[in-house]
């Protein structure tokens, strides 16, 4: 059962609706930025001189609100956490860039979003700051094109092998959420003291050397103590429930990846991942020899799934959402492909956690297209083809092609999948000769011989 949200995944199926939603989200965001006083550079920068910590309060209240909200929606099954976009983590670029950002933040008085709010409030400095941002980005573009091409910068800017590092879906996410929430709430007490310590002093006070009034320590009232305790207990209970769920799931499924089979369209033809990798490699070599490929792969996974388990030379379609528009888009795509050659050419649909692929295959077959589904979808591809510890059977390598070992063959295919080149290395020529199946249903779902790829 897939969670109903996010409503429209990033790069989603219905662009107009998606853009409208983006506008509404921005509207709410801008409203609360202004309500926080972020339309004034003076108020924003006062956090850095420790006079007014409201920026900190708003920012971190917002973070813990969203953080807890996301976890609750995820725990009750309303939000599919795997579909939330998380950017790649570049430790050094983000840290150094962040410090630079802080410097500009203090001098300029804004960050990009708050500059927009300041501008619509009539503040000229907001507009000038926005002009500065655009010029700064232009400066970066010039730098990137020139000195930035040097290895040292590229290794700093985007080191190879970087991935998103996030604890969102870890079983211990709740532990982190509780700790962060606690620390943030605790810190609010101390910034209150700091504010008094560094409060703006009048000229009169300075001239007459009047000492600062003693710091007032505010004790939390009964209501806020009870609210804090209740929140803490609720968070803990939800956390225990979540961890329990994760563990019972992993116990139930063991170390196996559960097969992704939809009940209604269970009988659509499937191709196993090992056969498909043979097809993909073979077709890459055919294309390199200026021949038409024997099959096509249409990828209906989300961007995230696609990035973590890429299939080289696949055609990217919008993610499955079961709508008729989606089917129409795929049909158009297939029509163009079929127009290039044999109408009976196999079209392999690769789906991900949405598991809508089997329905799509059924629909395509109704439309007279020789469609089949990658058995096990994205997960199978990842664990059987791309994983480090995937073990390939002997039959997948053609001894005549001069490939030393199965492990080397696996490594080469794997690195080719993640690379940017369209061409597979020559010696990775197909194991045996790939046959074009006359009946797609003859492609066996699992196991040794693997259909057309014998």
């Amino acid at each position: 059962m897939t969670a109903p949200f996010p409503f429209v995944p990033l790069n989603g199926a219905n662009p107009a609706f998606f853009l409208l939603m983006a506008g509404i989200v921005g509207l709410a965001f801008g409203w609360f930025l202004e309500r926080s006083g972020f339309g004034s550079a003076k108020k924003i920068t006062a956090v850095f001189t420790s006079r007014d910590w409201d920026v900190y309060r708003v920012m971190f209240t917002a973070i813990i609100t969203t953080m807890i909200g996301v976890q609750i929606l995820g725990a009750v099954g309303l939000l599919e956490l795997g579909l939330l976009e998380i950017g790649t983590t570049y430790v050094w670029a983000m840290s150094i860039g962040g410090i630079l950002f802080g410097v500009g933040f203090y001098f300029g008085g804004f960050c990009p979003g708050t500059a927009v709010v300041a501008f619509v409030r009539g503040r000229l400095d907001g507009l000038v700051f926005i002009g500065g941002i655009i010029l700064g980005i232009y400066g970066f573009a010039l730098f990137f094109d020139g000195p930035g091409q040097a290895d040292w910068f590229q290794n700093f800017f985007a080191p190879a092998g970087s991935t998103a590092i996030a604890a969102l879906e870890s079983p211990y996410a709740w532990f982190l959420v509780v700790v962060i929430t606690g620390l943030v709430l605790l810190s609010f007490r101390y910034v209150y003291i700091l504010e008094q310590r560094f409060a703006m002093r009048t000229q009169e006070e300075l001239d007459n050397n009047i000492p600062r009034p003693p710091v007032v320590y505010r004790k939390p009232g009964r209501v806020s103590r009870r609210a804090a305790a209740a929140t803490g207990v609720a968070v803990l209970i939800l956390g225990v429930v979540q961890i329990g769920q994760v563990q019972s799931q992993s116990l139930a499924s063991g170390s196996e990846i559960p097969a992704v089979v939809a009940v209604d369209e269970a009988d659509v033809p499937r191709i196993d991942s090992l056969s498909l990798v043979g097809w993909v490699v073979a077709d890459a070599n055919r294309v390199a020899e200026d021949k038409a490929p024997n099959s096509h792969v249409i990828d209906v996974r989300t961007t995230k799934e696609r990035q973590s388990a890429p299939i080289r030379n696949s055609l990217i379609a919008v993610p499955c959402d079961g709508s008729s528009d989606h089917l129409g888009a795929i049909l158009t795509m297939v029509d163009e492909l079929v127009g290039e050659g044999d109408a009976n050419k196999p079209i392999v649909i690769v789906d991900g956690s949405s598991t809508a692929g089997s329905g799509l295959v059924a629909e395509l077959r109704v439309n007279g297209i020789n469609a089949m589904l990658l058995d096990g979808g994205s997960q199978a591809w990842e664990s059987e083809i791309l994983a480090d510890d995937a073990v390939w059977p002997e039959w997948i390598v053609d001894p005549a092609a001069g490939v030393p070992t199965i492990a080397e063959y696996h490594d080469d295919v794997r690195s080719w999948m993640f690379s940017e080149t369209d061409e597979a290395p020559a010696y990775l020529a197909i194991p045996g000769t790939m046959q074009l199946p006359s009946e797609a249903a003859t492609v066996v779902a699992t196991g040794g011989g693997g259909g057309g790829c014998g």
Binding site: F29, F32, T49, G104, A164, A173
Partner: protein, 418 residues
């Protein structure tokens, strides 16, 4: 002139009226022949053929219709908006509906049966003339705008096709009213002085008193000549209204800020809504990058396309980019909030020891640094607030680094915001 009558329509108004009438007639007569070219026909075939041959074929006919149309629209809009003699402002004021207008519409049909019926007093124009005035003003704007859009959208497209429909329907409505206008002025003897006033400019006192009693009471001396203070009436009036709105916004008493925790929870819920709806919270720096790339590409397309960072951006679109809409939303949301809280203030925020010019310089410099930095960090604060909530390591590093950078700079440069 005052010996003969009261000034009703100064020469400028008469020129515009007859220019408008001549253009309308020409565009109408050529337009009918154009419609006939596309599958269905309004005018009789001999007429269509005659007009087409007169202008040297369908293409030429359409071209002339468009050029004359643009000429008419530009002249009308410019003379109306610039309003050098205050006449369009006067015209608009004369069109304002009054209580008597409703009564006039009720009583006027009775007058056809019974000439002794007393009609309510009317201003410079009676209610029927006002209705025609509205139709002409609104119709001109719609016909001109839709015509221009049809011209720009030559080659099809949904907007262009809708515009054709709107153009034709509006012309139809205007023509229906025009028949009434024309028959009143040209055929009905009793209304003849109105026609004369549009030719010679003045009306007789007796006629004015009877037909435009309210107007007559105010202008019984010489009528309504152009006064010196009416120069550029409409732009001056618009400027006055705009100034009043701006000043009232600027002088509004600002509300105090509420609890930062409430605002923070609201901001967090907005981001959460983004997660639910889009799979991501809002951002903004990506939009500025794209805006810069597209803006510069307007001036120097080759320079941008050759750049390895901005070049690929040009293929991805500006208007169908979600951050464009998110930033638009931020602007509208921020404006509405500031408007309702009385916090719209024109000027600049600065520390007490910094001149306005220095402050703008710092804003530009700070913006430069921030703009550069957002490319390294892959997003601005808004983006990283969203991802910090998703427990992303990079975002927490970014937030920590921003505070370190900010505090260190504040320590070294206290004066900037003192």
């Amino acid at each position: 002139m005052s010996e003969r009558g009261l000034i009703k329509h100064p020469i400028q108004q008469r020129i515009v009226h007859w220019f408008n009438a001549a253009s309308f007639l020409f565009l109408w007569l050529t337009g009918i022949a154009i419609i006939s070219n596309s599958g269905y026909q309004v005018g009789p075939t001999f007429y269509v053929n005659f007009v087409n041959s007169l202008f040297g074929g369908a293409t030429n006919l359409l071209r002339i219709h468009v050029y004359v149309g643009i000429f008419w629209f530009v002249i009308m809009v410019v003379s109306f908006l610039v309003d050098p003699h205050g006449l369009s402002l006067r015209f608009l004021k004369d069109l304002l509906p009054t209580k008597n207008d409703l009564l006039w519409f009720k009583e006027r049909p009775k007058a056809e049966m019974d000439p002794s019926t007393e009609l309510p007093d009317q201003g410079a124009y009676n209610a029927g003339q006002k209705a025609f005035g509205f139709v002409v003003v609104i119709g001109s704007v719609v016909i001109g705008t839709s015509g221009l859009l049809m011209w720009f959208g030559t080659g099809g497209g949904a907007i262009s096709r809708w515009m054709v429909l709107i153009h034709l329907i509006t012309v139809g409505v205007v023509i229906a009213f025009f028949f009434v206008h024309f028959s009143m002025a040209a055929l009905i003897t009793e209304e003849r002085p109105a026609l004369v006033s549009m030719i010679k400019g003045d009306v007789e006192e007796e006629y004015a008193e009877h037909h435009h009693a309210e107007w007559y009471r105010e202008h019984s001396e010489v009528g309504e000549p152009i006064a010196e203070e009416e120069r550029f009436g409409l732009p001056r009036a618009v400027y006055g209204w705009a100034k009043r709105v701006v000043l009232s916004l600027h002088n509004a008493k600002p509300q105090k800020f509420g609890s930062p925790y409430v605002a923070g929870i609201g901001l967090g819920l907005a981001v959460l809504f983004g997660m639910v709806a889009l799979g991501h919270g809002p951002g903004s720096s990506g939009f500025f990058s794209r805006l810069g790339a597209y803006g510069l590409a307007e001036v120097a397309p080759d320079h941008v396309a050759a750049n390895s960072y901005w070049g690929p951006v040009l293929d991805r679109g500006l208007w169908d980019y979600w951050l464009t809409w998110a930033v638009g939303g931020i602007a509208i949301g921020g404006f509405l909030s500031a408007l309702l809280a009385g916090r719209i203030k024109f000027g600049i925020d600065r520390g007490s020891q910094i001149s306005p010019r220095a402050r703008l310089g710092l804003a530009l410099g700070g913006g430069l640094i921030v703009g550069f930095a957002t490319r390294l960090t892959r997003g601005c604060t808004s983006h990283h607030i969203s991802e910090a909530a998703l427990l992303s390591l990079g975002s927490w590093l970014f937030l920590g680094a921003v505070f370190i950078g900010g505090f260190a700079t504040a320590f070294a440069f206290k004066k900037v915001w003192r």
